[in-house]
Symmetry: C2
Subunit: 375 residues, 2 copies
Amino acid sequence: MGGKRDSYTTSELRHDWLADRWVIVAPQRSERPEDYSHVVSVHNDSSDCPFCCGHEFETPGTLASYCSANPVGSKSWQVRVVPNKFPAVNGLRYRVDASHGLASHGPASHAPASSPHFPLTVPIDSEAVLSTGIDLYVRRELSGGHEVIIESPLHLQSLSQLDRETVGLVFRAYRDRLAYWRCERNSSYAVVFKNVGYDAGASLAHTHSQLIATDILPTEVQRHVARMEEYERIEGACLFCRMLAEETEQGVRIVDKTARFTAFCPFASRLPSMVNVVPNQHSSSFETLNEVELDELAWLTHRLIRRIERCYPKAAYNFVIHTAPIHKQNSTAFHWRMELFPRITKVAGFEWGSDCYINPIAPEDAAASLRTVGL
Amino acid sequence: MGGKRDSYTTSELRHDWLADRWVIVAPQRSERPEDYSHVVSVHNDSSDCPFCCGHEFETPGTLASYCSANPVGSKSWQVRVVPNKFPAVNGLRYRVDASHGLASHGPASHAPASSPHFPLTVPIDSEAVLSTGIDLYVRRELSGGHEVIIESPLHLQSLSQLDRETVGLVFRAYRDRLAYWRCERNSSYAVVFKNVGYDAGASLAHTHSQLIATDILPTEVQRHVARMEEYERIEGACLFCRMLAEETEQGVRIVDKTARFTAFCPFASRLPSMVNVVPNQHSSSFETLNEVELDELAWLTHRLIRRIERCYPKAAYNFVIHTAPIHKQNSTAFHWRMELFPRITKVAGFEWGSDCYINPIAPEDAAASLRTVGL
């Protein structure tokens, strides 16, 4: 593929097998003229930042905190986990509200309040549905948690500004909180994610990550699990183990690697310069990482973010840790992964309408830029 | 539901039956503090705008043009359709490139070059796949078209600035170009969409829409078709016909209506203040609209955009026209619809990771604001 460089100047379709989604790779789109520019302003006054050291009373109570082996001055914590003050997830019990005017039949109303096996999606062809009709207005309460991992007592704005010890503590916090939710009654799904900058959906600038745990498994996650299990059934191997071997052999999409982890740009990335980080040995669950592995992954992530910040100065970015859903621990089909991506394009009408993304940077080109940038 | 107003102050899950996707409605999220603000600058010099009257030579040749019944001055066109100079879609033949190092087996390589029935997705459990293995690196050329509908010879920036006659001509252009692609050999799918403003993914400010036609049916569109057919099979009725009856009875999510069309905020909107516009009588295909219907819809859309611009000044917005895929014309299950939505929130890490959206405005509240705003 390396020798066919000129093939990247016209559009092509690539198939993302996991998501069963076509992506349009269209490098010529990046030559478009641009009438718009934007300037992001950051309110950057640490004196009223609720995440800064000394403002602990402005957040809900501490769920976990982590100290440096060599604390500087009076700082009693280096990383701190608190409940989100404006949670997206709340409620402790199931509820079906029939006040919308349709009868409250349908699967939701059949779930006992305490069932940990609440149906994950609304089936469309079961006998129950056939006999009662499809309810287009199913609603219920959402049970789970929404937490904030504050990554420094100082008013820093990117994980790349943390020292090696602190970024290791941040990844310990991810591991510990995911492990906590794995044991929580009714949990189905927990995800750690990070939004940095305006275009990535951040609201506060102080460097932080978030965890959301829910009692439902989102439909798309459930589809991905089914695809990985289907791959294993047909191929007798884990999808990402196989892909990793192939990526290593081809080499053109590799960005960085360590003894235990590999970072590469996926063949059918829907967003430009997206990077996947996966463990080299099969593992379903991020929360089983030991201290040495966490430190190695944390520092690799730090380096990947520096690569992104060098290639795309001031770009907003996100990352997401996809660990196995609660009921799929120790799955031989599910390989945990981290997705990391700068937010350098906008999602426009075509993508919203079709879920078919136009990526203006060929993943091979993105990987070459990220791999070779000076750090 | 109207009497339960206080229920919208905590999160709840709502199920979007069509997309089989849970949405989190979380009004309390809109109270979050915000460190970021942004200012969009528009390069607004019509002297170098390729879409302005007098610059026709800067775009590829005209595909269609529409004149006013009462032309002003020397303007020879009022609405003009041209190929996109930086198309996302190109290529005229299928191609499978095996240079990625894996054998080029798998479904893609079996498609004859001229087949209009190229498999729409890569099947995962067919015998062909079982015998040849799953190819994780399927790529092919993309055949189709990418067009721009220039909505005025003047340097205007929103469809809401057009007069009634011109917005009618714009909708005629949509109808005619969709009808053109419906007859094109190998076409599977065509979509009209509009991006206005930086956050909506626009690159040029001069008011315009786009059409993309492809020889594949995007997987998500195919899923929606399957859900609508499943609904019809179980319920013996069209999903949107049924939903429209229910929305009309409940009333709380209705934004606007005319004799032939209804605009409402969907019960499980994944984006805040999203509006669906649907024909009151079942119709699968936008391109079958007659002149009177087009004029009525065009002016309703104009009014809806003014409502959005009054409620969310300077907000970017998109709309998308979902007409039946080429092979589903005259479907009794597929009801065409238009989705219109301001871009007032960002898609963050959680949404990218889970495809589960957090909507901070309850659709009932969004509809009330849009319905009652002064025009």
